[in-house]
Amino acid sequence: MAAPVKVYGPPFSTAVARVMVTLLEKDVPFQLLPVNMAKGEHKKPDYLKIQPFGQVPAFQDEGVTIFESRAISRYVCDKYANQGNRGLFGTNPLEKASIDQWLEAEGQNFNPPSSILVFQLTFAPRMKIKQDENLIKQNEAKLASVLDVYDRRLNESRYLAGDDFTLADLSHLPNAQYLNGTDVGELFRTRKNVERWWGEVSNRESWKKVLEMQSPPAPKKA
């Protein structure tokens, strides 16, 4: 049996979660190697050797090292095309192109404002960093515009790229999950089609497993 692939990074990281949910959808066993960012491990020479930008995640599979979560997800879908969810990255070039289009739309339009909001609303308080009200307002407005486009799209299509759940939908899970635990979740709930879509994608077994990995289990009673 091949050695499990390695994913480096903390499970609460949105980008690490993106890779984990892909691996679970594709039935690819993996080992999660924690990187303690509070202790600056992601900026130490040993880690910089595998991810020179000092970001998480990094990924290793049989001697190839790849970083950037969406690139890793694409690679996993290519390499393990015949196992797990086979339609995750499409089964023909036209399906793949539509998925790529929405993966890019996620990366270029959804990710920037949602990442800033996730940091400001979820991580900054935990790290005792002062929130920037202006930045929050600006990015809420940007995210609202993007979700308007999504709502129109999801009125015509069950999932973003077509009738099936794909990498394009998956890529939204980590940021949207955090946001739905804050007031910004209203932006999702007040858009009928986005709300329907979010309910479906966030209930996938693979994503539920990632959520379990993100929260440590409650201590068992003695």
């Binding site: 020179p52 930008f53 190839v64 790849i66 970083f67 950037e68 969406r70 690139a71 890793i72 694409r74 690679y75 290519d78 390499k79 070039p93 036209l94 793949k96 192109a97 539509s98 790529d100 289009q101 993966l103 890019e104 739309a105 990366g107 270029q108 339009n109 920037p112 993007v146 486009v149 129109r152 799209r153």
Partner: protein
Amino acid sequence: MVVKVYGPDYASPKRVILCLIEKEIDYETVDVDLFKGEHLSPQYLKLQPFGVLPVIEDGDYILYESRAIIRYYAEKYRSQGSELLGKTIEERGLIEQWLDVEAHNFQPPLYDLVVQLLINPKTGVASDPKRIQEDEEKLAKTLDVYEERLSVSKYLASDTFSLADLSHIPFGNYLVTTLKKEYLIRDRKNVSRWWDDISSRPSWKKVLELHPPVL
């Protein structure tokens, strides 16, 4: 029937045109004037609902996001023109990696510099010197990583020119022209070598000749 590329005056559509030329694919262009707000017209938004460039129309087939478009054509026309997607799944993985690095670490600060220094003056919006400095610092840090990488690899993903290198050319061109920040490239020996190599490809020369930048 020939693929139509919208907005050839600007850099993101040039990513697509560059790829089409490398793959020896015929194309036509449709002008979109950003300064006249044509990218926000109802007709354009029907094609590209986010109101950004480019979008392509290939018969009835519509596709947007330049990096999705170049992936599609590089794969569809795999057997002609330059090979831009590598020979193995592993090489493809590295190309995807550096394409994403370009999108997340190279493009954002560079795009903001274009807005601050080239677009704002044309639209009467004041530029923010603090942001310009931060953009330069971010870009410099990214190029430091590139410098290291390009000391052990001829191109970003491997020793062969790929989509990952191609993706840098249209916006990178602003650095050595109207942004007047060529030193960011020239101060780095390997980045400088790489930039000269990729920007002297006949395909890029053709793009500049047929679609001179307006910014």
